[in-house]
Symmetry: C2
Subunit: 315 residues, 2 copies
Amino acid sequence: MSHILALSGGVGGAKLAAGLAAVLPPERLTIAVNTGDDFEHLGLTVCPDIDSVTYALAGLNDTVRGWGVKDETWQAMAMLKALGEPDWFNLGDRDLGMHIARSWHLRSGETLSQVTARLTRALGIAHAIVPMSDAPVRTQVRTEQGWLDFQRYFVAEQCRPAASAIRFAGTPGAAPSPGFAAALARDDLAAVVICPSNPYLSVDPILAVDGVRAALAARAVPVIAVSPLVGGKALKGPLAKLLGELGQTVSNAAIAAHYAGLLDHLVIDQSDAADAGGLRAGGVSATITGTVMCDADDRERLARVALSAARIETG
Amino acid sequence: MSHILALSGGVGGAKLAAGLAAVLPPERLTIAVNTGDDFEHLGLTVCPDIDSVTYALAGLNDTVRGWGVKDETWQAMAMLKALGEPDWFNLGDRDLGMHIARSWHLRSGETLSQVTARLTRALGIAHAIVPMSDAPVRTQVRTEQGWLDFQRYFVAEQCRPAASAIRFAGTPGAAPSPGFAAALARDDLAAVVICPSNPYLSVDPILAVDGVRAALAARAVPVIAVSPLVGGKALKGPLAKLLGELGQTVSNAAIAAHYAGLLDHLVIDQSDAADAGGLRAGGVSATITGTVMCDADDRERLARVALSAARIETG
């Protein structure tokens, strides 16, 4: 049976990744996850996108708040604040359990791939969630304050400083993780699905990993992206500000142009049906469907739609 | 005004330390705390006795459970258990905030003294809580499984293996912390108070720090211990087993003999009033009082009793 490689960022991407995992058996799916948002905080290694995907596949994600772990509490953070420690990045107690475990094993010498495999297995996840790279890659934004790490810019500064550039520190020089490299090279690779994550901030870091863009372009397999846009916009306020300052247009046409040379098919929301003609004129076929994922049924249905665009059979 | 040096272990000692802090201004008290129970767990540096004293002085200690932080929860530990990580040592969420902060600053290069000063100040503690040493000292118990770290023996193994010896790894070779050394050398040092902690397990590690026993013996200041015994016993079951295996008798006479050459005065519980005569015959004066500390009034009263044995005035 053919194999599917999914590329995912955080929350939105994690939902489709969970949908793909629901319709494909473990041996048919590899989920390669952005680590550009990772950061060191309070001595812990925090991997927001890996955790979003992990929590979604384990059914531990909070669906009301939209991020993090369900039934979360914030007691450790309250103590850290009382101790005078930085509290600009809120870490829940259950989430901290994950960061403590990961940081401990990383310090013990395991790679991020090994730690991620260990912890996802422990949570009963049979599918492969792999970091895009075991080498640290850090998304950074250039502002009048200099280059800021992404979480510092996004969470602590709330995107207030004007941005003039974005970079993925550590690239070039970061090799794909073993699991990602293996998936890219599989004889039975049948499709690549780019999950509905921010192309500039969540997918570009994955494509910036050494050799990934070239490997994807060289493979004669369909590349299907699910657009993160709904009604022409999906990016929340501050991110739209960042991308506007960088001269990036937010539209399905811009997404298709951004992925030029890679993308074969774009799944767009029914509210953006008018975009389909322009996409097709540009050589990218389009599927129009509802892309908002509120529950497991939505996730599975969208996963099947994305796979059917590549004529992939599901169970 | 004269200065008091208190030596403290965990829970019982922490109560008297809080009482001393309530009756002495910050500039008149140094609390040197056992670090032999410290250990590295899940990549974090846990200092149970420093934390017991800190929580007691900050009013954050849980008085119902008798240890740890009040209003505690256990969410991170539940996640760690779900992740397959060791759960034999239970760490609460608020407590974890402390360990995360401490471990982070230690890794950043601060000494345990510096970190302890930083974190106690942040909690509004004006009195000096100092580790007995900035060098790691680890209480270990020799069993048929070999030398076990204290927490492994005490918590994970629940003292089941027969013990044949106890040692304080890192001694000799561990210097007193700067704050402890300074207190030992103060011209205005007027008394040393050994808090009601286990002499063999909580106070002996402090005395094993380089030069401490000699410095105490050389100073012509009264050394007053408050006995941890009530009704001839106070040590919980497993510890009594350990000390019995090591041939240690648990009695006020044994405590006085154990501190021979150092001790001038022992404060004993009214239930052990019959011990006073034997103590005096052995050259150690005794005060008989109620030593059970249930609330702040008890702690302050016992602190005043201990200090009055050395003719120390309090505010």
